[in-house]
Subunit: 254 residues, 2 copies
């Protein structure tokens, strides 16, 4: 089977931030050459993880922030009773570990859903660098803000939207994020299981499955196992409740 363009993979050969295909997402704007060098000096590109490998696990001591380079990462928490809550899915360019800065421990686990490469930023060095590179503060706060907006979106979706609407929200949001990364927004392969998506969207896997069926019969999407093809973006976004002028419908981390 040939890979569609949205397998969430990028080349991982380069080791420089400057040449990284994600630099427009990952780096603050308008960095001068010396600043990029300084940033590169605190960024380590770690060996790629296989499926089920963990970038970090809930409860571990916080030391570094991470940026996804390729692949897809599941963020999740497990409570005392062993129940899992999927908090979201991180795509290339997205930052992991912000919520650990305050507590000193990772509050959630970050697991590769696929072969995943990523970069490490030692936090102690990062803090120093913030004082040297002005734009860096704004950049990380911007990324934190995006995460907050995404959380509000999913809060609203689970709180107020019907099952089919939530599924539409998931696909349209994923579609938008993939397009930003340069992939097809109309056809992509899901690296996560039905179980994980359902968990994230606050429903049972059976319910998610039935909703997929509904969206197919309504001619909004086509589904072939992991492969999703969006047939009617407009009506899918309409169902999702999407509205361009509405702040709550920006890109969502899920």
């Amino acid at each position: 089977m040939t890979k569609v363009s949205s397998d969430f993979k990028v080349s991982v050969l380069q080791t420089s931030c400057r040449n990284c295909s994600l630099s427009s997402l990952c780096l603050p704007k308008d960095l001068v050459s010396t600043e990029i060098k300084e940033l590169e000096s605190i960024v380590s590109q770690l060996p790629p993880l296989n499926k089920h490998g963990h970038i970090f696990s809930q409860g571990e001591n916080f030391s570094s922030l991470y940026v996804v380079r390729s692949g897809c990462v599941k963020k999740y928490q497990v409570d005392a009773e062993g129940n899992e809550q999927v908090n979201g899915f991180s795509l290339p360019g997205e930052l992991l570990g912000i919520d650990a800065i305050g507590t000193g421990r990772y509050m959630s686990s970050a697991e590769a859903l696929d072969t995943t490469s990523y970069c490490q930023l030692k936090y102690s060095k990062f803090e120093e660098l913030c004082e040297k590179i002005p734009g860096l503060i704004k950049h990380i706060l911007k990324m934190a803000g995006q995460e907050l907006v995404a959380e509000h979106d999913i809060h609203k979706a689970i709180s107020q939207k019907s099952i089919d609407e939530r599924v539409a929200v998931f696909f349209t949001s994923l579609s938008t994020r993939l397009r930003i990364l340069g992939y097809s927004g109309s056809e992509f392969n899901l690296p996560m299981s039905r179980h994980d998506i359902a968990n994230f969207l606050g429903m049972q896997p059976e319910t998610f499955s039935r909703s997929l069926k509904k969206l197919i019969t309504d001619n909004l999407i086509d589904v072939n196992l992991k492969n999703i093809r969006i047939k009617d973006q407009d009506n899918l976004r309409l169902l999702a409740g999407h509205c361009e002028t509405c702040p709550s419908n920006k890109v969502m981390n899920g």
Copy 2:
């Protein structure tokens, strides 16, 4: 009627960060005197708002972060169809506006539920100051992280927990936050309406009302209009962490 200690009010007479009763929450640790002075120079204490007054409104251009000094603030978004989603309630010491840094516009509205005083931090000046005061970056990232953790908690609650459990989560969480502020964690007055709480917790007001009744008959709380008294912290917290799918808890529910 005499005020109980948890009316979320603090004296608003002082104008210095140093003497502010919230300094332990609002300021980074270990600031030297000159640093506090610099911080004070960018913090303006604005005139208090009456009930329904807005600190900022969704869509307005971002310019400042705000810290609640006294009272209680409702964070909410309204979508194109006019549906409101309550994102949360901010108590004294909590920061507002982080999610606007990245987008340049406030993504939600912040409305006083009561007479509320607050401080303004011009963001442009704040960024400059971050370069001068090392701890400031960590402090704001810590507060952003706390907000993210809170969002994950509510996501999980709405996603997985039953109605009564969600209500228990709300009360125990509020109780904890009030105690940290030095108020009673076992008796307090709710500044927000049933409608707003229900909306925040992803349920209908009728359903919230019925759940309150249930918690009262189970002897976990007492309710007198806006006044809540927690009678059995232990079991309320147990309920808040309780999970449907956990076999040991299933039997007790009947």
